[in-house]
Every structure is written in structure tokens, then in C-alpha cells.
């Protein structure tokens, strides 16, 4: 609960461009350990690969805002789900310290083992909402979600809209 954004950035060094104001942002609901674990899951759901993923988009900030506000009733699911995920991790990778510290391949194997659970489906929903939802919720930074799918953010468009209507009009 008591982690500043600066500590977060230092710990995971994935927000190179974070502004000074953002650097002082704190989580409202999550604690640092849970946030790191949830973000590790989110970053396998939408990986930061050749294009920005859940990390670069700041999905964890969306999730924190959701659990602090509209989705308060999902807190217990997160707490329980994280505990069950740790148990599964311990079973699959004995001696490992955390989900965040697993290798990428191990993380994928762990998530494949829990992907049918209500917890995973909830994290997937939140990750997707954080990645593709409006940036005002803390995720989808620089509209990376909309850029991924080729959506131009504008208030008005004019025909032709696509290839086929353009070709038909010629």
C-alpha cells in the first residue's frame, strides 16, 4: 500500500518516460508485493514484445483504480486468487520466490495452469480494460492499446472509411 511511483519505476524500470507528477503517484489500494505479482500476470496476458504491452501501457494503475473504486467487490477474489496462484507456483516451481521472479517461460506455464480460474479471467478482464480503455483510467498510456489495433483517435471521420468502400467509389 505504501509504495510511491518512483520506487515502482526503480524496481521495475519499465516507465522510462514517467513524468515528475506521475513519479509521485501512489497506489490507492494495492500493496507493492501484490502489485508486482499482478503486473507479472498482466504482462504475460498482453506482453511488451515488439509493441508495447501491459507494462508500457500502465495496466497496473488501471487495476489499482478499479479495486479502489468500482470493483471493490473483486478485492477478495484478488486476495484469494493470488494466494492460490502462489500455491500453484510452489507446486510447479519449488523454491521459487514469486511469480514476478519466474522466467517468462515459467510464468506462461503457471498461467496456463490457472487460466480456467475465476481469478485469471478477472485479471485478464482488468488487463484488457486497462490496455484498451480510456487513458484517463491510468492505463492505455499514449494510447498504445488503440495504436496496436490501428484505431485512429478522432472525433470525426469522412468516407471512404476503408479499402472496399474506397475502391467501390472509384
Amino acid at each position: 500500500m505504501n509504495i510511491t511511483r518512483r520506487e515502482w519505476v526503480l524496481a521495475f524500470s519499465c516507465w522510462a518516460g514517467a513524468s515528475r507528477a506521475q513519479a509521485q503517484q501512489r497506489f490507492t489500494w494495492l500493496d507493492a508485493v501484490s502489485a508486482a505479482e499482478i503486473e507479472a500476470i498482466a504482462r504475460q496476458i498482453i506482453p511488451d514484445d515488439d509493441t508495447p504491452g501491459a507494462g508500457r501501457a500502465g495496466v497496473i494503475w488501471f487495476i489499482d483504480g478499479a479495486l479502489a473504486g468500482y470493483d471493490q467487490d473483486k478485492r477478495e477474489l484478488y486476495t484469494r486468487g493470488l494466494a492460490e496462484t502462489q500455491a500453484k507456483r510452489e507446486q510447479l516451481f519449488p523454491g521459487s520466490a514469486s511469480t514476478a521472479s519466474l522466467t517468462a517461460d515459467q510464468q506462461v506455464a503457471l498461467l496456463q495452469a490457472i487460466e480456467k480460474t475465476e481469478f485469471f479471467q478477472q485479471v485478464r478482464l482488468h488487463t484488457i480494460l486497462g490496455f484498451f480503455g480510456h487513458p484517463m483510467y491510468g492505463g492505455n498510456r499514449d494510447m498504445v492499446g488503440w495504436k496496436l489495433i490501428g484505431v485512429e483517435h478522432a472525433m470525426r471521420f469522412e468516407p471512404p472509411f476503408g479499402y472496399y468502400d474506397g475502391a467501390a467509389a472509384k
Binding site: F132, I149, G162, Y164, A168
Partner: protein
Amino acid sequence: MSAQYRPTDTVDFIVVGAGAAGGVMAKELATAGFRVVVLEQGPWRHEKDFTHDEVNVMFRSGLTNDHRKQPNTFRKTSGDPAKPQPAVEYGRMVGGGSVHFTTNYWRFHPEDFRERSALGSIPSADLQDWPITYDELEPYYTKAEWELGISGLGGSNPFDGPRSKPYPLPPMPVKSSGVLFERAAKKLGLHPFPAPVAVISQPYRGRAACVHCGFCESFGCEMGAKSSTLAALIPGAVKSGRCEIRPNSYVRKIEVGNDGRVRGAIYFDDAGREIFQRAKAVVVSANGAETPRLLLMSKSKAFPHGLANSSGNVGKYLMFDNGALAVGLFEHPLNEYKSIVVTRVLHDFYRTDPKRGFYGGGGLDSRFDNYPAGFALSGMPKDMPQWGSEWKRAVGQYYTHMNGVLAHTSCLAVEQNSISLDDNVKDAWGLPALRVTFKNHPDDLRAIQFCAERQKEILETAGAKKIWIDPESMAETTYSRHLMGTCRMGDDPHSSVVNRWNRAHDVPNLFLVDGSSLVTCGRQQPTATIQALAYRTADHIQQAARRGEI
């Protein structure tokens, strides 16, 4: 200047619900000289209040009934326990569903009004003729199209009934989805036509034309270009000086006097206070789910089983919207996220064809039904991973390159399918939750299956590289945004709730005007028919009032 009445003023009409029908009733009655109070449970939003915020609108009930505050319960048959489960959705605001609907504006076909005569009875269903014909309703379809502002091309659908006037506005520009659909359908010998839509393609009566922003379905229009009652009618109702719109006013009971006539409505205001508004007559336009619920909650000595329910049929014969979505992936970008949802439609499979061996059929439209998060969440084909790098790459490639064909298929009226009051679950105001009992008639599912094959053929012919149908959209319907049939119209007071003028058989000064009076549901897309019925009822009320017959 908006009128303001005191609860102790006996106004001429209360209209419960300011939606697709209530907005029509408010404007028509107020401009005809009646004093009207509109009680709307939702807020009064304006163009500036509407957003492109998918999280709020699609995932947090931003514009619709919030199931956290107003829970539903659901069961398939009356023998099953009803469990809390969202089952009905409606626009909860001034303008109602007309604010957030997709804007398809089809008329029912002439044969929709007399299917029982044409087809005979259907086992396990209660198919009935309407007491009115298409010809009786036609002038009011036309009136609705002109009052609201509908864009389309009259005469372009060979299966439509006769029209007395063209549409007031030309069709919207065709999108890539429409071009592909039209080309494929013609190759298959079918008859695609430009979609009639409640969006203005040109400036109309002081409203600016659509700018193709792409946030039509489920969203409110920031431009006032969607022809909702909020944009097209409510301003005129208010301007009459005789209509007061009271938002955040949740009616819990319609009061009846010793003479068996309604005398007003009790509602909770924004602060949760109970207020009794007096009126000479009441129009309930609360939608096909909330109207029967309100009647069932309005028990009295005169009506121990619910208001206007001597037939026992209030709430029965609920009809839902059925139909599967087929999706195709194409070589070039379509950019369907721009502009309105539907630009081409076909009705070739609409009529019941006895050769097919089941009742019903469907209207097909070419559409893009997605917003980014909803698409990523559940719009991708299920034969690939649903998370991770491969999925992410596919999501990135698919969004601008795909298009759907949606079927709007028949739904038979079945007595057991119904709205009733839940015995256990209450809403945030302490009122009984809306209980839905619904199980598709077998012919509903056969129509969905039949149309799904046609949808796939069209996408194949259009050259789609990959085609998929969400198996869930082929399953039995458990959730609906089209709420129809629960206070049926008919000539016989023993088997119907309202008469041919949408007046309650049991109560002369009570009118039910919304999806609840529909006897059959055509092939979905009921808004045009609901609004035509509203114009017809408003006309009748004015004439009856002049004769002192209300």
C-alpha cells in the same frame, strides 16, 4: 420554458418512462395542449454528457440499468429456482433505449400482423394475429420516420410493405462492410438494401448531420445526430410549456381509486423520498420488462393480482432478441470502427417458409459490433489462444480487417416466458427484483441455426479469409435488450392486456405504450414499431379526450 407542476396538481397525464415511446407520448400530448408530467427513473443527460468511454458505458452500466442496484433473477422454467443473474438491459435515462440503440429502423412487414391466420397454430407456442393491420399502422410509421429523422431509401427493400412517403433523409454513406455484403448477396441472388437508420445523414430540423465518429451502438450521440427522442422530441415537449420532465424519479406504484380508475403514481425522487403525483390518466412506457413489473407491483383492492391484470396475462409472452453473429476476416482494411454500425440489410430470409420446417426466419445486417476492449475480451475466434503474444498480434491485425453479419431472428411467444416479481431478491429501493423466466421455443433455435448458415455463405462469397461464429451466440437466449410482448394487445380482454388502442382493457384511463404490447416481434428491431404505436396511441388519446372518453 419547462412547465413545473406540484404533486397536488392533478395534471392531465403522467407518462412513466421517457424512452422511445414515452418521448413520443410526452411531445405529442404536450403539444396537443395537455398538461404532462414525465417520470423517468434515470438521469437527464445532454449531448455534452456523452463520451467515448468504453469502460464506463460497456462495462459499468454507464447508460443502462445497473444490475448491482436493480438485480434481475433468471430461470429457464417456472420449475427451476430463479437465481440472481443479469437478464434484461435497457437505456436508463431521458431518451431511454433510443439514446443508446444501434439505430436499425426497420418496419415490420404486413404479414407480421397476421401470422396466425397465415400459418395456423404452432405447438408449444401462442402465435396470434395482431388486432390491427400494417395498413392501419403505416401512417404512423411514416410520421415516426419524419418526426425523428430516419435515413434510408424507400422502396429498396422488395419485402417491405407499401409506404405512403419516402424517408426524409437519404441513406448514410456505405461502409466497406456494406460494399462486401451487397456484392456477395447479389451474387447469391439476394436483395440487399441500404439500412434505414435513426441517424441523420444531412442536417435536419435544426440538428447537425452525423460526423461518423463511430460510437453509435450502446453510446449516446455527442452530436445529437442520432435520432433519439432525447435529441429529436424532448426539446419540443419542453418548449410547449406544458410538459415537465422529472428525471431520477422511480415509480413504484400506480394508484387506483375506488372507481377502479388510476389517479396518479407514487415514485421515489432523487433523495429517496416518496412522492404521489396526481393525474387524470397515466401512460406507462417503462419498457417491456419494467411496465409489467410496475403493474404487478401496483396491487390494490380492485386489482389484487396487479393493475390491469384481470386476464392474468400481465408479464406473460415475453419475447427476446435472438440471432448469431458471424464474423469474417478480410485481406484489406475495412476500418469498420468508423461511422455507424449498419449500412446494408437483407430480408430474403425474413418470412416463414413452410418448406424449411419451422416457424420464423431472420433479417440479416452487415455490421461491426465491437469496441476495442470488448473485442479483445471475447471477439476473437476461439480456436486460438486468448492471451499472450500470438493472441496480441492477431488482435492487432484483426480489428481493422473484419466485419460481421448479424441475424435478427424470430422469437415465438410462449406463455411461460415471462416477467414476474421475485419472491426473495429486492432492489436498492426495497422493491421486488424483476424475475425473468425464459426458454427459447425450439423453432427459435432452428431459425438461429438456419440463418447462421446463410450468414457464413455471405461472408464466404464476400471473400473472407477466415470465418467464425461465437458458439455462445448460437445457444439459448438468457439476456436481452429487446423487451417485448408482456402486455399483449388484443380484442379479447380475457386473453390480452391492452386493446387495439394500447388502452388497458380493465382501466379506461391507463395506456401501455412500449414493447410490451407487441403481439409478435417481427424479426427484432422493434423501435420503429414501438414508436409507430406511440404515435397512433397519441392520436387516439387526443380524439378520445375531445369526446370525453378518457
